[in-house]
């Protein structure tokens, strides 16, 4: 009888310790206040994307974009080292780079503008189909932990692509001519395991035509 009581007492203490370390209680209004009342607000992907574009992506484009010609050369000689400059939110072989380059327009197609870089390589600046997560992930400045769910995260991509479609592409399309010189910053997507450098497509973030 005494042995059983001791057993139950130990069990109770153990449960108490586990429970004490498992849950904690707070006033709900305090938690909401600390969270900036975000729990009840719908995530505004458009506003987030606009802020990200102006305060993070464009400054990063100016300061930390990798030179595309140097990257292409590095990918051919030391792929592993070259991918050190890449970013991605998830695991896997798909990686993104924020790149900059300069070259001459050699062709203007329905879906893209072909640019011959000063070092001779040819890349395509996308002008029609702006999809995917390249613009969002290439800078590595967005963290997945900032979002409650992946839908919000994906909506940011969609909104960034919208900004490119509305603000970057129309002036570029209007001024692009074969033979013109362009300076651009953009995002590219590469598969680390199955690397294809032919017909490389750049999602433009900023373009200057001279």
């Amino acid at each position: 009888m005494q042995k059983n009581s001791l057993k139950y007492a130990v069990l109770l203490v153990l449960l108490g310790v586990v429970a004490y370390n498992s849950v904690y209680f707070k006033k709900l209004d305090e938690v909401k206040a600390n969270a900036g009342s975000n729990t009840d607000q719908k995530f505004d992907a458009a506003a987030y994307a606009q802020t990200f574009w102006t305060s993070k992506l464009l400054p990063a484009s100016a300061s930390s974009a990798t030179d595309l010609s140097a990257l292409l050369s590095s990918l051919k000689t030391d792929k592993t080292k070259a991918f050190d400059n890449s970013h991605a939110l998830g695991i896997g072989n798909i990686r993104y780079f924020l790149v900059k380059g300069e070259g001459k327009i050699t062709a203007i197609g329905d879906n893209d503008v072909t640019v011959s870089l000063l070092t001779g390589e040819t890349v395509n600046l996308a002008t029609e189909y702006i999809f995917g997560n390249a613009a969002r992930d290439a800078s590595g400045l967005i963290k997945i932990t900032e979002f409650d769910n992946t839908t919000d995260l994906n909506n940011v991509s969609a909104e960034l692509n919208n900004i490119i479609r509305k603000k970057v592409l129309p002036p570029f399309k209007a001024s692009a001519k074969t033979g013109s010189t362009v300076k651009f910053v953009g995002a590219i997507e590469l598969n680390k395991e199955h690397l294809h450098l032919e017909n490389l497509e750049v999602i433009p973030i900023s373009i200057e035509v001279h």
Partner: protein
């Protein structure tokens, strides 16, 4: 010739899974130079860890001549409960109360959810004499629906580095999920080989009426076995959620099939009473290596399903043939 086959039959029967695994590894390594690499070795082990956890529980269930079709959904719900509590806690606006959960609390809640659902399976099967197939099929739908309700159809992400460490971390040069599944396998081997519960499980699968007449509390053992299977599915849910840093509402879909395949390929008889945990581990490795090999060889996902189906069929045919021979 017949004499030669019969002479080697005991050897072939005993080591059939290992022989199959060896032939599979040899074939894939000849066709892909990426297969026999250290990175791919850990990759395969990490991938099969979840299936090993689920299949260990499934083996115990199948040894009692039962089946558990709900493990994939239980995995999803347990993972979602853990993620939801960890991320959002429980909010009670009427009492102006927020109940927050620590990593320990949320993890325990997920495990309790899994074992609770497993207990319900066992209770329904023993209390109402339902065929395990039907009872667990019902739970498959119930748990999936509850997952959708809990997550509102959206993934729950951003669970923190300490939680994701469980699915992505390393300890002594070995991935943590491999450690965890290894410990689970070791405990299950001990239970099945060295404990009274293990002997009762085999006895129930061998002949339920004989076990009952011998004084075995059939209902209690079955409920325990389904509870363990649920708890191990929950461990699988924790690993998946942790690895992805996200609880997906559709996580674990068709995991029950991979789990049953591992059990059958590992030599456990679907009619119960015969099989082993280590055999199931071999089955899980075969399934994992097969999946990995088919991906490395760029086989279309549609064909992968077909190939896996035929492998399961072949395993069952061999199992039948062995039973007849015995």
């Amino acid at each position: 010739m017949q004499l030669t086959v019969n002479a080697y039959r005991p050897f072939l029967t005993k080591f059939q899974s290992l022989i199959a695994l060896f032939i599979l590894c040899l074939g894939i390594s000849l066709l892909s130079d990426k297969f026999l690499t250290v990175a791919n070795f850990w990759n395969v082990l990490r991938q099969i860890s979840v299936n090993v956890c689920i299949s260990t529980g499934m083996t115990l269930v199948v040894l009692t001549a039962g089946i558990d079709l709900s493990v994939g959904s239980v995995l999803a719900l347990s993972g979602a409960i853990t993620a939801g509590l960890l991320r959002n806690g429980i909010q009670l606006p009427s009492a102006n109360l927020y109940i927050g959960f620590t990593l320990l609390g949320a993890t325990l809640a997920g495990l309790v959810t899994g074992s609770g659902l497993g207990w319900f399976n066992g209770w329904a099967i023993t209390r109402f004499k339902l065929p395990p197939f039907v009872a667990t099929l019902a739970m498959l739908t119930i748990a999936r629906g509850l997952t959708m309700l809990w997550t509102e159809g959206f993934p729950i992400t951003g669970l923190g580095d300490s939680f994701t460490f469980l699915g992505t971390g390393w300890f002594l040069g070995i991935p943590l999920p491999v450690w965890l599944s290894g410990i689970i396998v070791a405990v299950a081997v001990l239970i099945t080989n060295k404990t009274r519960l293990g002997r009762y499980i085999y006895a129930i699968g061998g002949s339920e009426s004989a076990a009952r007449l011998s004084g075995v509390n059939i209902n209690k053992i079955k409920i325990a076995v389904y509870s363990i299977a649920g708890a191990l599915a929950a461990v699988g849910g924790l690993l998946v959620t942790s690895r992805l840093d996200s609880a997906q509402p559709n996580a674990g879909t068709s995991y029950e099939l991979d789990s049953i395949a591992a059990v059958v390929i590992g030599g456990t008889s679907l009619s119960g009473g015969r099989g082993s945990i280590l055999g199931t581990v071999q089955g899980a490795i075969i399934i994992g290596v097969l999946n990995n090999g088919l991906v490395l060889l760029n086989v279309s996902p549609f064909w992968q399903q077909v190939v896996k189906g035929f492998v399961i069929l072949l395993a069952v045919i061999i199992d039948k043939s062995n039973s007849k021979a015995e």
